[in-house]
Symmetry: C2
Subunit: 584 residues, 2 copies
């Protein structure tokens, strides 16, 4: 037996007990006649004491040979500490060591095993197994496990069945790029790794398993943006014989349960907002509603004077920054520079200071008088002491720019509180999205998303105006889940394929088995998928998903710890009937 | 709202209620003035009644347009049935339909949606989404979900953390063949799909997460034998600061819990048997101990006469078939033919009839007298009415042949009862296995398995004799789990690599990151992995794993429903820097 207790377990009530502990040497303090060793395991830290009086000189000598991260087993007696440490649960006791066994030695680790470590990201990733010893990382992984268990518990109790769908499936050109897997047994043919189990979950609905879920890895061979992973985890869900309202209620239930169970936060009813409203009020389809700073549209109150920049703009829109009147001119100039950076792309920024005495001072005083500016303040909800920031231009672009500014300022002002949770359903998404490069419409969600009842005809006349039975669950400004009611009618599906530019032959080639399946009594159905990595990060009060993944990949899709991907043997390639053919 | 109740829910206490049901038309019986429709969903079947008197002729006409597997919604009143059906839970009631809505029509399905279907395996696999509507398949999937939840519940409560390990890892030539995934972003390089998370779970132990589990897909590109799948699911587990005894107890706990929770079977303590004993007593390292028919070794009592076949054999071994004396000569000849089939490979079979009067009649009466045969009966445990079957030859082969005969006869005699559960730990496996083709030893379990204490020296003199801290959990003659205590000492690991024929360079190239990790304080650790597919099948009283997988692949590794694998676009290949190069 390696241990009778863990290193996080012993308390004052255990004093006088003989115990066995195992763990890692976290720290050593040597005072000559006595030495203390902090012994660490997953559960905590226990102080060991080696004392030439109370035990033996030999044992003390042995303790002196230990180094950081050595693995040891000790037997000894729990004693009360002379100077207690109130900061750790075991701080009232220590273990007077009677026997010390070295289980393994250790090279000096390349960084300290502390929350505030001296190791940079790259080094920590290369030695991820040491990084995981740090409480921060370890606790994140334990937290993730807890969230996943809570999800499974809730959904199982609601009658959902977890079904494992296959990983070796078929490549479809639709959507993002697939990772493919060459088949040795089927020459020249390839499997694909699933981008999501979308078609399989719909087939399960056709198969009558009316409440499905799965926590499942998905794969996308995309050029990685910051904090994207080529493999990621979804909570994938689907229900049959449901309308949108049923799905929203079911997964509002799940999210409410998680917030309560994991964070102790009680939220009664999630607000709902249409996509159009979210764009109008926040310039964003995943608004963070933990704070205000809603958009005020100023066209009516700003396009009556000689200021051509505004007069020629499709949209003039502003937000009020609480307390922003305290900004210096220099600080405001910096903000202007910030929105003019190429990543944001604004042409400029107009501002209005709302003075404490009720007067206004703006960068466009030449064009607008106090009465005008009072109206702007009214529309943006600005009060004395605020700063109004105004952008203008093409509507969609301007909203996106102002949304970026809103989020940046909220961050700076500490309004994005990690322990505050504001869920929001965004509903009535557009069915189609215009691809600006090709001028074609493609499915915003996916080609099986159903249009709102009665809007099918609009596809002919105004495809961009068609709204879908599609919804996102937003939490603190992040999309944590999204889904839709699917098309279960084959006539509607053909109309959709036609409008998405598929010939019947192309549709058949890509989705043949699903189209076939839908001819055998497909029930009305719909679903949702949550990004587990992000959900866990947000519940954990953070936004970087990498910190919640045991072995993440870097931005080139590499695992720097195991050094993958890597070249493979020529023999392996030959068996797969493949040749590497680098065309530079 | 599509339904107020499911089709499995209504009882006599619901009579007079107005209800809404949705589901599939399972069966229609039309008596002219009245028609009954069996409406089916995941939860059961409810009888609907359409009656020109009690409702309307129009509704009855509408019901007549329905076909098998049409999807409908009905509103109506629960009434008591005139002729009750005690075979289904809803058999006391029916729903008098007041409103019928067709939700979807259906082509006539290619096979009947019944437990006893008219569809063959191939057809059912092609239309798996219809196959899943059959209770048998649906119930298996629900059962699997239940088992997986129970596993998670138990392990979580025991402090195990579920950690997701990566799917895109690095190919290692060791072991079975990897599936590989070309990397687009890293030219000419490949990921591999994990055959198991072995190295990652060991790294998690180095990282201090001392109780890990994961229910995880694994991949092996093997030529598929019957009932093997290229992707399969493991319950993968690892613990640190443990000895073999700790692991056996922990997972005996899990298995006991599952048997109790899922099957209501209470088993107190699992028996243990060494690998050597299992081979000697059952000719098999995964013996089915639900029944006897243990091997009796007959060398001593059969090699003293002139029967050269036995005298020249390394092993003469027999089993007693209960009641086998009733077999006709023809039946015994058939058994002899059965063991002589190339799949079994015995040269012949000697038999001894144990007559009711205590005399014996054997196929080798020319060589052995009654006294000899009485000794054989004594050794094999045969009693009056039994038949002793004796095989001889090279020891290992003969045991394997007799084991096959034992299992076949037990099957025929109905001794392998699906509702009886007999778990068994097989321990003390050999560390190394001789590869008969190359004459080299390779790791029986994997290269990180630790030899029994004190046996390291034997590696030099008698490698085949070294026993490992390796164990299998056997249930009803199937290996459901296997694992080992790992080597955590780098010196021992180098000795092992040497004996497995790795140069230090090769070891470094293949397992470099693990060897590195072991230099930073690896704790003593070990683990086990269960095959979930097989575990679920056996708990379900069956042995075919395919029946417990939602979308299985066939023996060529194909998914015939989605028709994968399949060729991919030239453009896709080009992006991956690959060329298909079929060399026939």
């Amino acid at each position: 037996m390696y241990r009778s207790h863990t290193c996080g377990e012993l308390r004052e009530s255990d004093v006088n007990k003989k115990v066995i502990l195992s763990g890692w040497v976290h720290k050593i303090r040597d005072k000559g006649f006595v030495a203390w060793v902090d012994l660490r395991d997953r559960y905590g830290i226990t102080q060991l004491v080696f004392d030439e009086d109370r035990t033996s000189t030999k044992l003390l000598e042995q303790a002196r040979t230990l180094g950081r991260e050595f693995v040891v087993q000790v037997k000894g007696e729990v004693i009360e500490r002379a100077s207690k440490n109130p900061n750790i649960p075991t701080g009232n006791i220590e273990v007077l060591v009677e026997e010390l066994t070295l289980l393994n030695s250790s090279k000096t680790p390349p960084f300290t095993i502390e929350n505030e470590t001296d190791g940079g990201e790259d080094l920590r990733m290369k030695y991820r197994y040491l990084d995981i010893r740090r409480n921060l990382v370890k606790d994140n992984l334990i937290f993730r496990s807890k969230v996943a268990m809570a999800v499974r518990k809730y959904l199982s109790e609601q009658g959902f069945i977890e079904v494992e769908t296959p990983y070796l499936i078929k490549s479809t050109p639709e959507g993002a790029r697939d990772f493919v897997v060459p088949s040795r047994m089927n020459e020249g043919q390839f499997y694909a790794l699933p981008q999501s189990p979308q078609t399989f979950k719909q087939l399960l609905m056709v198969g009558g398993l009316d409440k499905y879920f799965q926590i499942v890895k998905c794969f996308r061979d995309e050029d990685l943006r910051a904090d994207r992973q080529p493999e990621f985890t979804q909570i994938d869900c689907e229900m049959a014989f449901v309308e949108q309202e049923d799905i929203l209620n079911a997964f509002e239930g799940l999210t409410t349960f998680l917030l309560k169970e994991i964070k102790g936060v009680e939220i009664d009813k999630f607000p709902r907002m249409t996509f159009d409203d979210a764009m109008k009020r926040y310039g964003n389809d995943k608004p963070d509603i933990r704070f205000g700073m809603e958009f005020g549209e100023l066209n009516e109150v700003a396009q009556h004077k000689d200021f051509n920049v505004f007069n020629s703009a499709e949209l003039v829109v502003g937000i009020a920054i609480p307390g922003g009147n305290s900004y210096t001119r220099k600080e405001i100039d910096k903000l202007t520079d910030w929105v003019k950076r190429p990543q944001i792309g604004a042409k400029g920024m107009v501002y209005v200071r709302c003075n404490e005495d009720g007067t206004f001072k703006s960068s466009v005083d030449k064009f607008y008088d106090q009465e005008d500016l009072a109206k702007w303040a009214n529309v943006t909800g600005a009060t004395a002491g605020d700063l109004i920031c105004v952008l203008s231009g093409e509507a969609h672009k301007t909203r996106t720019q102002l949304s970026a500014l809103r989020m940046e300022l909220a961050e700076r002002l500490g309004l994005r509180k990690p322990d505050e949770f504001a869920p929001l359903w965004v509903i009535d998404f557009p069915l189609l999205e215009l691809d600006e490069e090709t001028g074609n419409y493609h499915a915003m969600h996916h080609p099986f998303t159903s249009p709102k009842p009665g809007q099918l005809e609009l596809l002919e006349t105004d495809p961009g105006a068609v709204r879908a039975n599609a919804y996102d669950l937003v939490l603190n400004g992040n999309e944590i889940g999204g889904g839709s009611i699917r098309i279960h009618d084959k006539e509607v599906q053909s109309v959709m394929f036609k409008h998405l530019g598929f010939t019947p032959e192309e549709a058949k080639a890509q989705f043949g088995f699903l189209i076939d399946a839908f001819q055998y009594g497909a029930p009305p159905h719909g679903g949702i998928a949550f990004g587990l990595d992000r959900l866990v990060a947000i519940l954990g009060g953070q936004e970087t998903i990498r910190d919640f993944i045991a072995f993440p990949k870097n931005n080139s899709g590499r695992d720097v710890m195991i050094d993958a991907p890597a070249p493979i043997d020529e023999a392996q390639l030959k068996e797969l009937n493949l040749k590497v053919d680098i065309r530079s």
